[in-house]
Amino acid sequence: MVRRTSQIFSPWVIQDIHAKSDLGRYRIRGFSSFQDVTHFDDLTFLSTGLTRFPLEGYKEQCNTQTVIGSLNAKNPLILDTPIYITGMSYGALSVNAKTALGKAASLVGTASCTGDGGMLPSERKASNKLIYQVLPSRYGFNPHHLKKAQAIEIVVGQGAKPGTGGMLMGIKVLDNISEMRDLPKGIDQRSPARHPDWLGPDDLAMKIEQLREATNWTVPIHVKLGACRVSDDVKLAAKAGADAIVVDSMLAGTGASSEILLDHSGIPTVPAIVLAREALREIGLNGKVHLIASGGIRSGADAAKALALGADAVAIGLSALIALNCNREIPGSNFMKEMGVPAGECSHCHTGKCPVGIATQDENLTKRLDPDEGAERVANFLNAMTMEMSLLTRSLGKGDVHSLEPEDLAALTIEASAMAQVPLVGTNKIFGQS
């Protein structure tokens, strides 16, 4: 078939080349990858019929309690739902957004996570279960805060930009942010990609022991990986002593990244979970070292499918921000006027001009987000996701979301069958298996 326009040089590609020829540098944006890849929508649950009995939604309980990090920690994380809020920095997000996320997590009995740039006092106060990230930058890192955390997460990489550090444009590096991060005010911050005090997996084992000693072996230690060479990375992290491994896929969100990394690095969430599960199984640590999946999880269905594939919990970022009103017109906002795009198409978190007060450090814009109202919205969303998971689980005749398994799934496409290692619908064939 002959097209009327070039398949290779599409209008978007032409515009992209023009933009880069004007700029002389790579392009930067926020949000998430625009790549069209296999995702949870390409999988479907095989609910009960005559082979199994469903559970009654009104009468029968479905357990969603989730324990993370029981391998070594005296006090593992015990969550009321297998969904928690991932690390997003104070800096990328406003103080009101971080506080709202912490409050929302507490309202539903789950955890939130600090992100790059240190522990924000209002988030610490709001979040009953706060995960403290140890990032390559160590911005604002403080052993006093470390000892107050309910879990620790060593960040090796993040899915939106694996192999690089964080990025925060100068418009967001204002007084409080520059002070917390010990950076000059107004610089375009490009965080380190490597940790300052360790390089390889042998060092990581010693780093993990250091953090355990500093916290008296009380809290779990997670290792977060950008999903790329998942199988080897997961084995190395597990052998280094991680209690839990977070696999963050190419579909994960960000407040700022070079566009080229967002769209052209990492692997999707579905194969990342399967590869991680098999890696842990190969070394005999499946079910002992917990697996947390993140990247593009938007609903209880996505979360349930992640658990069925082998995750013990999921972490959400962008979905929680959308619940906070990201990309939605609210009183006072005007996306076209303020961002040059309609609500629903904004990916300009890096500009610091977020019209809904989430991804900004501007005092006036921040006021557009009420932290209590925002917390309620995110808590509602987390509750809705958890209910959706329970509904699907009961429909499969199971009373515990952690009983979901690959056998409960079928793939709607050949690619999904190969990546998820479940049969293609209408066949018994799992593609990619010899």
Partner: protein, 227 residues
Amino acid sequence: MVSIDAAQLSTRELNIKLNALVEDNQDVKIINPRARHNVVVGILKKCQITVEGSLGYYCASLLDGPTVCIEGNSGWALGENLMNGVIRLSKDAGASVGASMRGGEIFVGRNAGARAGISMKGGTLIIKGNAGFLTGFMMQKGTIIVCGDVGDAVGDSMYEGVIYVGGKITSLGNDAKIANPTQTELSVIDKKLKKNNIAGSYKFKKIISEKKLYHFDKLERLEKSAI
């Protein structure tokens, strides 16, 4: 001063004993540390700890307040993320000494490995001998004084802070430049050296950031309209 013989203790047992004594406001001496990793970690109060022997990775790290004197060598990341307090090492330090330190003072009696003072965010790191490559890499604040020579790429991508080098500079890192130290700065260095019993006349060169990496120099249309 109370002594702990670490010879027969696991790291966990050693740190539990040490923390209990520190909580009891005792000064502590550790003997036979056997170059183990992660000793004297996460102590957040003023106290006096002496270590007779060499230590491994991450020793005297994540501290706020203690004075730690080590008679020996250390592995990687001695004094990592020091908030406040003093660490004195009599011999050589491995790589990444003072990584991400935010305050206090670390003194190395002989040489330091690569990446000394990497990501440093405050405080003072003094190295009596030579320091390896990438000294002060991505340094944000604070002061590094190297009395001897430094390896390649000193001060690479540093934001702020100052590195003084008394010996030879193999090469400057990206965005680092040499400046002239003022008399006031030289007298401050002199005082710090005397305090650490370092005699000798050094001709210190000062290395600071050229600040050319602070900003992306161009914005695209949407960024211009939004910013």
